[in-house]
């Protein structure tokens, strides 16, 4: 269905090619997952499928790409719209119209379908993706998960043979992600739709994958094969695969269900060992919210929330899309005043602080880290951050070296990958060493090595007496690093306690290891490894 033959691609002005001699065939009805480190060219590979690379982006492409027998050399993206449905990383930026129903019909209008056909397909897709209650809503009022579903629906109405998705679940909460993936699997199984998707959160997509394409990103050839084979020695692997390798399971389990069947002996070996209950850090109160309510128009984003954050704590704020997580963070950062209640950070109300004082007390990395960056190059960005906050020149650059080593300083921030941008923004925010650090979805677009670096960094920061509050959907990140978890629902706090208890007792938020080894409260592969090797379990 999709065939790449000896494809190499170089962006205009780039020194080295992004794709080198790629040969790849994806058969009809296959669900193929593209994995690889941050910045390895996964997005470029996906965009080459419908010809956006190179027709839209420019650059030099050699070799040939054919989809359903049509070559992208002869057919520009618009002529492939009835064959390939493309959903980008940021669905909100791809919306052309302004209400859900019009957006679903847009591609069909361009294809010139008869009005009654359009009407029927729109209804079908509304039901398929559970969007029927949103049909008249303006797109701007939808939550992230709803937008993602509308974006998928908008390409599905054209009934393409191939669906290409770039990180379809990275912005979604675990439940919404399951839902999207389940509908994708159904399209693959029942209709023979070919799906090619890139995703960093492998733990979510691997159970559904038929084949995996590993893009190493260092110029070495792609590794293509059935999911189990590629995963056996892939440098990027979800916790489940790590656990399988640790326990020596063969074949490697890719779903929790398979793993539980094999996990009997492991559970028996671990019997008696228990992860030590973490001692909750008893630091000073770094920030507090006292019955804080925030309303946007008629919608209550936060409803009488009382929370305190202590130094040394890493607090994960979880909850479904639109439950008020980001609002909570923006309150702590003093972006806008609450409708009622009191926010105190380091003894003062953050809204009243001048920008310069604010950054030395609280640092917020927003969901789209790119908005923090507007220098011409990485080096300039670091220099101006030093200048703005009155730091020793070179502090930010040194911090960047710790967060993500080896980022070329002459690169423009816009040309960085999502993960590299996040690293840069993190360095800029961390440089003045604010006692309170706020992170909104820090692992969006981050690969496993990047995540591991982030985990180490956060643990170090907490050890040095910073309070860290992060809003996240990434349960594996919470399992690895959080000391406390807060669950929000409709702007109210519904759970607040040690991360292990909160996370393991929720079917939605439990990490893979906990699911496999339930009812014991193991969270990470590292804990299991230490227990097996007979070393004292760390807290």
């Amino acid at each position: 269905m999709i065939r790449f033959s000896d494809v190499s691609f170089t962006y205009d002005g780039a020194e080295r090619p992004t794709l080198v001699h790629v040969d790849l065939t994806v058969g009809e009805g296959e669900l193929c997952v593209v994995v690889g480190p941050t910045g390895s060219g996964k997005t470029t590979l996906l965009r080459a499928v419908n010809g956006l690379v190179p027709h839209f982006t420019g650059g030099r492409l050699s070799g040939g790409v054919t989809v359903d027998g049509r070559s992208t050399r002869e057919f520009p993206p618009r002529e492939l719209a009835d064959v390939v449905g493309m959903v980008g990383q940021n669905p909100a930026a791809s919306f052309v119209t302004d209400t859900v129903e019009d957006e679903l019909a847009y591609t069909m209008e361009n294809l010139g379908l008869a009005p009654d056909v359009m009407r029927r397909r729109v209804e079908d897709v509304l039901d398929l993706l559970g969007l029927h209650e949103l049909r008249d809503r303006p797109l701007a009022t939808l939550s992230g998960g709803q937008q993602q579903r509308v974006a998928i629906g908008a390409v599905l109405t054209a009934s393409p043979r191939v669906l290409v998705l770039d990180e379809p679940t990275s912005a979604l909460d675990p439940a919404a992600a399951e839902e999207v993936l389940a509908s994708l699997t159904r399209l693959v199984h029942d209709l023979g739709l070919t799906v090619l998707l890139a995703e960093h959160r492998l733990e979510r997509v691997l159970p559904f994958a038929d084949s995996v394409v590993l893009v190493p990103g260092d110029g070495s050839p792609l590794v293509v094969g059935p999911a189990v084979e590629v995963m056996a020695d892939s440098p990027v692997a979800p916790p489940l695969v790590d656990l399988g390798r640790l326990a020596g399971w063969d074949p490697l389990p890719l779903s929790v269900r398979d793993a539980r069947r094999m996990a009997g002996p492991l559970r028996a070996r671990l019997d008696g060992d228990r992860p030590a209950a973490a001692v909750p850090p008893r630091g000073d109160l770094a920030a507090s919210l006292t019955s804080v309510s925030v309303a946007y128009g008629e919608v209550t984003a936060l409803d009488a929330v009382d929370l305190g954050f202590r130094t040394g704590e890493i607090v994960a704020v979880m909850g479904r899309n639109g439950s008020g997580k980001s609002t909570l963070l923006s309150q702590l950062a003093g972006v806008r005043p609450p409708s009622s209640g009191r926010v105190v950070v380091g003894g003062t109300d953050p809204v009243t602080l001048a920008p310069r004082e604010l950054v030395s007390r609280v640092g917020l990395v927003p969901q789209d880290a790119g908005v923090l960056l507007y220098g011409e190059s990485v080096g300039e960005e670091c220099a101006s951050a030093d200048h703005d906050t009155g730091l020793e020149p070179g502090t930010t650059a040194a911090m960047l070296e710790r967060v993500l080593p080896g980022l070329p300083s002459d690169r423009h921030p816009r040309d960085l990958s999502e993960g590299q941008r996040l690293a840069l923004a993190l360095a800029v925010v961390l440089a003045p060493a604010p006692p309170l650090l706020l992170l909104d979805e820090p692992t969006r677009g981050l690969d496993y090595p990047g995540k591991a670096r982030l985990v180490r960094l956060l643990a170090e920061l907490a050890g040095a007496g910073h309070a860290v509050v992060m809003a996240t959907h990434d349960v594996e990140l919470v399992a690895q690093v959080a000391t406390r978890a807060v669950v929000l629902a409709d702007g109210e706090v519904v759970a607040d306690g040690p991360a292990r208890d909160v996370v393991c007792h929720s079917p939605v938020f439990a990490p893979q290891v906990a699911k496999v080894l339930a009812p014991d409260l193991w969270l990470t592969v590292d804990e299991v490894r230490t227990a097996l090797l007979g070393e004292p379990v760390r807290g």
Binding site: A81, E101, T107, L111, R120, D136
Partner: protein
Amino acid sequence: MAGAASRTTNPILLLLIGVVVAYVVAARRSSAPWSRSIVVFLRLGLIVVVFRVVLVIIFGNRLPGHVLFTLPHVPLPSWAKGVSIGGPVTAEAILQAVVQGLRLAVVLLCFGAANSLASPYRLLRCLPAVLYEAGVAITVSLAFAPELVVSIGDVRDARRLRGRPVRGFAGLRGMAVPVLESAFDRSLQLASSMDARGYGRRVPMSRGARRWASGSTAIGLLLVVGGVYGVLVAGSLPGGGVPFVAVGAVLVGVGLGTGGRRTNRTRYRPDPWGMPEWLVAASGLVVVACMVTAGLLGAPGLQFVVYPLGPPTLPILAAVGILVGLAPSWVAPIDRRGGAPFDRVPVRTGRVVPAGPGSRVDVVAPGSPTADEGSTGSGPADPAGVVVSTSVPSHLLRPSPASRPATSRPATSGVRPGGTAR
């Protein structure tokens, strides 16, 4: 209404127009995000009035009359003779400035109202196929303005988080680049998305037909331009230029029509154009017609004169004409699209919401499937409300349904089973 406003300087008439427009908007706007644009335009109008008055006070339109107060006169070099700074300020001058400002403000308000009542995307649906692509370019650029406001807010927040000034000149300078950059970025993303979704697909067309289309359009346009010149400059062309305009217009029409066949696009649920729509359009025309007639008849009071100083008179015909503009507030169909900003208010099953004669009449579905089940008593009675995500869209099962005639409209607008039980 804007046309009417630009024809008068009578403050009473202007205020009347403003009130009528505001009332229509209040009665008929939906709660979609674009509905708030009238507020922005209202503010802009007020700024215009104030700015105008301040300008008159400082630079002066030195009308003789009742002197209110005198500013110190700043002598200017002789080459700036026409301009004066300071000097006596008269009541007449200020009044004139207020009225002129008011006229501009009311015109702005009318545009704001149009923006509030219909999203630009809906207006796009009424365009003929040939002009569609030009229309998309315009609406996308119209959407650019609100995007810009949002992105200014984002950049302000981000700058604050970076510890940079957000106010004053330094703040403004630092913000311009990132705001424009993000707007540019967004345009690129939008363009690539539109490309990937088939915007601008062409139907293959013979070379001759293409040449005929562009040739006839070009020649037609030339004829129209020449003809208009003939109309304006009497005696320069035989027949006063009118035949040229006519022939030119026909040629342009043919050219656009042929060209339009190249774009093969259809429209999803086009807006019906029925009695209410005719009435709305007609009421607007009546307003302008009354104004123009009043002007032609030389009705006193249409132009407000500051000499002698006194209350303006009220031209009856024009005032009545403006009041006709109120008509849309009850004849216009209620805009259900865009709906409530968050979940639609659940309406009881089976209740029919009349939306005015000639427009769509829908049965509003209940807010949640559980409520519906509760009313019917038995579970699987509801074909659409229950989560159907386990089924697969039928069009995906059959690869090329475009060629098949559709059977009937899907069951969104049918009375629900069991719904009438309540």
